[in-house]
């Protein structure tokens, strides 16, 4: 099953399970969504449960906050994470803060689903990975599954969570196929648990979302050098499962954090800081970070490829780190 189909199945099952669950977003009904995640759901559940909105992110995210405050469970689709910017006030100042500011009496059980990622020449305003902005904010949960199983299980967990969840998908992941839980098992995947997707002994690569796939390919390539790479899929950025990362780095003594967004003040910055504190005496080299080029994404294909945190770029950073530790030639 594809990542896209796994999301659709989770939405379908949650719509069927709980009448308070409803979907909102641009063109998610008749048109079935820009990336076809909601295909068939409007026909099945009707316009009241699969609600089309005007092109006004601040308006429909705000409507979602209000609906959630009175007890509904809105799942809001923002076409790509780039378009969340007009809704920042609703996400950061309202959704994230309501529970705390109302003494815990009212919460916002809302999910915002939105894909990040780049690589299709969509240029600077449509190629961003902004999840670090939200992982910065107390009151929000931010998850970014990398495979169909986790996409399915974590979307169900997100919908059932009583607090706002930013559910980050990735344009390149939608067609990825993989296993999903059997129908009727109602399996969910909890937040705050990273997954060691490849065990290794020489280097830990920590990643989330599509970058996990890149990390796995890099791990395969290093096998030829006799280097054993462990890959951790964070799955959940806030809450962050740093303990799994620490245990891994205490074993491998070397770590690299890779992300599709910019590395400066990014996910890698946070993880590197925590690893340096927790694993200081076990490290063989400083924790390395890799992200996209620190520039607005260019349109030209060659420049876009150069700016992306591609496999080659992450692999080269890993090789430099291993060379600094005397394990490979530079």
């Amino acid at each position: 099953m594809t990542y896209r189909e796994a999301l659709r199945r989770a939405l379908d099952e949650e719509l069927a399970r709980d009448p308070n669950v409803f979907l909102m977003g641009e063109e998610i009904g008749r048109f079935e969504g820009s990336y076809k995640v909601t295909a068939g759901l409007w026909a099945k559940y009707g316009g009241k449960r699969v609600r089309e909105t005007p092109i006004s992110e601040e308006g429909f995210v705000g409507a979602g906050v209000g609906a959630a405050m009175i007890g509904l469970r809105p799942v809001v689709e923002i076409m790509t994470i780039n378009f969340i910017v007009p809704a920042m006030d609703m996400v950061v100042n309202h959704a994230a803060k309501v529970r705390s500011m109302f003494g815990g009496k009212v919460g916002v059980p809302m999910v915002i689903r939105t894909p990040g990622g780049a690589g299709a020449q969509l240029t600077a305003q449509h190629s961003q990975s902004l999840e670090a902005w939200f992982a910065h904010v107390p009151g929000l949960k931010v998850v970014a599954p990398s495979n169909p199983w986790d996409a399915y299980g974590m979307l169900k967990t997100a919908i059932r969570d009583d607090d706002p969840v930013l559910f980050v998908e990735n344009l390149v992941l939608y067609n990825l196929t993989g296993e999903v839980p059997e129908e009727g098992t109602d399996i969910t995947v909890p937040f705050g648990l990273a997954n060691v997707v490849r065990e290794g002994t020489d280097l830990t690569i920590i990643a989330h979302s599509y970058t996990v796939r890149r990390a796995l390919n890099i791990a395969d390539r290093f096998l030829q050098d006799g280097i054993s790479v462990e890959v951790i899929d964070l799955r959940s950025l806030r809450p962050l499962d740093i303990d799994t990362c620490i245990a891994s780095v205490k074993k491998t003594t070397r770590a690299l954090v890779a992300e599709e967004g910019w590395a400066t003040f990014g996910i890698g910055a946070e993880i590197a800081a925590r690893l340096h504190r927790a694993c200081f005496d076990e490290l063989d080299a400083p924790v390395e970070r890799v992200g996209g080029a620190e520039a607005p994404m260019p349109y030209a294909k060659n420049l876009e490829l150069a700016a992306l945190a591609q496999e080659d770029k992450i692999g080269a950073a890993a090789r430099r780190l291993l060379a600094d530790c005397g394990l490979v030639d530079a």
Binding site: D225, T253, L283, A285, C325, G326, L327, D329
Partner: protein, 423 residues
């Protein structure tokens, strides 16, 4: 103005030097061209001369201590000048290199061989895990200072793992794990069984350099071989007479005579009867001679302890007992440990000469061939004599060719004038 005097490069291969002696004392004035100190390098004893006039304000590295190339060894300046605090701080952590105990000075306390050199521990660039591993394994990281595999010579985990010999087990690909410089063969520590009879002495810089080179060339133990032909006529006669006189109490073999001759020769040549071990040179005060006994599968080497203190009869009894129990698989662990020399005799297989491999940490092994009637020239006449060819393999880290030759000469003399075996 106060100035630091640093360890100069006095030979191409020198990495550190030992202050053999300060010629100028603290507070003394010197002139351009005066010899300030004598420095022992890996090659030779060299003189360190002054390039200017001045006063030796402070010695930072005392007589007998080592310093890395370029490390401060003293502070010079003008008479009465204060030594700046930062120059004192730069002094090596009192490089606690023990002065070598002069040979024959009785049993010295087993000096811990410190790898200390002129680098202060805090100046060593090392990754945290490298420091942790080193400290857990009692390794002084100063030995690797500036020579690690990391950026700018930072010591990283793999460097320490190589030192503690762990890398092979973890199976890191050899081409990527290749050390950047030659790694000297690790020397085995002195076995516990020997420790109380053994005196440890620090090898000189020259000996250390030779040991490293030989080890790189033919490691881990660089062997060399010296051979001699021994006229066994008198030894065989003595053996016959003894066995007749002993009336079957015990039968003395040629091997027993070889053991006795070896033991006496070894005591006469302490420069050969010493092992290259991790702590230094281990001098053996008694000859514990192992005798290789061939088994159906492999071989075993029971040891005749203190063979130098035993008569031929005692040796014969001991070796017979050990050989019988060896073949029966009934030897005790401490009967196959603690050897300082081995005799391997393949004469009974018709082998006339061969070369044996040293059984570490022993310094040498003697390969004994068959005694063969051979035409030789004596007093201008060709005569037939029973000739035995022996080949001595020595550890070139612990001794030299001349040492091996001298030992063999001593051995030969005792078999050709076998009455000495009774002495």
């Amino acid at each position: 103005m106060a100035d630091e005097l640093v360890m100069p490069r006095l030979s191409d291969t020198m990495e550190r030097g030992t202050i053999a002696r300060w010629v100028v004392k603290e507070g003394d004035a010197f002139q351009n061209g005066d010899v300030l100190a004598e420095i022992e390098t890996d090659k030779a004893l060299m003189e360190l001369s002054a390039y200017d006039d001045g006063v030796l304000l402070k010695i930072l590295v005392p007589d007998g201590a080592e310093a890395e190339l370029g490390a401060p060894i003293a502070v010079t300046g003008e008479a009465g000048e204060e030594v700046p605090a930062e120059m004192l701080a730069a002094a090596p952590a009192a490089a606690p290199t023990e002065a070598a105990t002069p040979a024959g000075d009785g049993p010295a306390a087993a000096a811990a061989v410190s790898a200390a050199n002129a680098t202060a521990a805090s100046e060593v660039r090392a990754s945290p895990i490298a420091r942790k591993l080193a400290s857990e394994n009692g390794i002084d990281l100063r030995v690797l200072a500036g020579k690690g595999s990391g950026p700018e010579g930072r010591i990283v985990k793999i460097d320490v793992e190589k030192l503690i010999g762990k890398v092979g087990a973890e199976g890191i690909a050899p081409q990527t794990a290749a050390p950047k410089g030659p790694t000297p063969a690790p020397a085995k520590p002195v076995p516990a069984a020997l420790a109380d009879e053994t005196r440890i002495e620090k090898p000189s810089s020259m000996l250390k350099a030779i040991a490293q080179r030989m080890g790189e060339s033919n490691g881990p133990i660089p062997h060399f071989y010296v051979e001699s032909q021994i006229d066994m006529e008198k030894a065989l006669e003595l053996r016959k007479d003894l066995n007749t006189a002993l009336e079957g109490e015990v039968k003395i073999s040629v091997t027993d005579m070889i053991i006795r001759a070896s033991a006496l020769a070894l005591l006469e040549h302490p420069e050969v009867h010493r092992s290259w071990v991790a702590e230094g040179l281990a001098y053996h005060s008694h000859a514990n001679v192992g005798v290789a006994v061939a088994l159906d599968e492999g071989l075993i080497v029971p040891v005749i302890r203190h063979a130098d203190d035993k008569s031929l009869v005692d040796i014969a009894k001991a070796s017979q007992d050990l050989a019988e129990r060896a073949r029966a698989g009934r030897l005790l662990q401490d009967e196959i440990e603690g050897g300082t020399f081995t005799v391997s005799n393949l004469g009974m297989f018709g082998v006339t000469r061969f070369m044996a491999i040293i059984n570490p940490p022993e310094p040498a092994i003697l390969a004994v061939g068959a005694t063969v009637d051979t035409p030789v020239v004596r007093d201008g006449e060709v005569v037939v004599r029973p000739i035995m060819t022996v080949t001595l393999s020595c550890d070139h880290r612990a001794t030299s060719g001349a040492g091996g030759a001298a030992l063999l000469q001593s051995f030969k003399k005792r078999l050709e004038q076998p009455v000495l075996l009774l002495a």
